[in-house]
């Protein structure tokens, strides 16, 4: 195992077949991936709300 000069890598296998990064941690303090599901549900909520209001508006406007 030797240190690697390549950007994004910290170590490189002597056999030059296996490279990986060892700085990425998954503890509560360091794990920062976006919660994609939250964004999707908000997007769905707005779309769903507009759809329902639109349908109700159509019904009430026709009744008028």
């Amino acid at each position: 195992m030797v240190n690697s000069n390549e950007e994004g890598l910290t170590h490189e296998s002597n056999w030059a077949t296996l490279t990986f990064e060892v700085t990425h941690k998954h503890s509560a303090e360091t794990h920062t991936h976006e919660n994609k599901e939250e964004g999707i549900s908000m997007y769905l909520f707005i779309l769903g709300s507009i759809l329902i209001i639109g349908i109700l508006f159509f019904i009430f406007n026709r009744k008028k």
Binding site: H31, I52, K63
Partner: protein, 226 residues
């Protein structure tokens, strides 16, 4: 207006999946708070208000009921004072409650506003409670909901009060940003012929979504470890 119970129940069931993950504390927000100082509390507070649709739905219901910009300012100020009291006070004193139950009451406030706007109390031949008082009471509950959310973050003890006040400032910024398009849309539409249909449609939606959010929060309460 006749309330078609079957139609309302079917729309509520159809809408349930949309609530998943909404309004929760995300790990990305926690990371922002860990690394960003007081500005990050302003940012997360504003983000929470803009994505916390139950607060905005209630405010939209209040704005619908009012006539004139002066009235809007008066009621929004009362709502703001009330939620500042519980947001700051409850967080500082570490007063907490189950967030599902608090959110269930907030959902009822959304239902209440739609019901009142559609003349529900008159139909029941009951005198409607004073709106300013109700906005103040619901403002206290909304603030408590915001407080339980803030308390679910790891915020540490350094600059504790400043962090709470920064989050509160963010909430107010988010509220202003959200109210601008809401007030603009409602006041512009008031001059149009189709306004009565828009009024009925939106307030019926508030009733439906209020019930749906209430059921969803109770489901969350009974299915969580509390």
């Amino acid at each position: 207006m006749k309330f078609n119970l079957k139609r309302i129940v079917s729309i509520v069931i159809l809408f349930m999946p949309f609530f998943a993950f909404a309004h929760g504390v995300s790990s990305s927000d926690q990371a922002i708070l860990n690394n960003g100082g007081l500005w990050s509390y302003i940012y997360v507070g504003a983000k929470h208000m803009l994505t916390g649709y139950d607060h905005l739905l209630f405010l939209a219901g209040v704005v619908f009921f009012l006539k004139g910009f002066k009235d809007i300012i008066k009621f929004i100020t009362v709502f703001t004072i009330a939620h500042c009291i519980t947001l700051t006070g409850a967080t500082y004193l570490a007063i907490n409650a189950n967030e599902h139950l608090v959110d269930a009451i907030i959902a009822l406030s959304v239902f209440y506003k739609g019901f009142e706007n559609l003349g529900g109390f008159e139909k029941l031949k009951v005198k409607a409670p004073n709106l300013l008082l109700m906005v103040f009471l619901f403002g206290l509950i909304h603030g408590f909901g915001l407080s339980t959310r803030l308390q679910s973050f790891e915020i540490g003890s350094d600059y504790f009060l400043m962090k709470i006040l920064s989050f509160n400032l963010g909430v107010e910024i988010g509220q202003i940003l959200a109210l601008i398009p809401i007030v603009f849309l409602i006041t512009k539409w008031q001059k149009k012929e189709s306004y009565p249909a828009f009024y009925k449609a939106t307030n019926t939606y508030l009733i439906i979504i209020g019930i749906a959010l209430f059921v969803y929060q109770l489901y969350g309460y009974f299915n969580s470890h509390h």
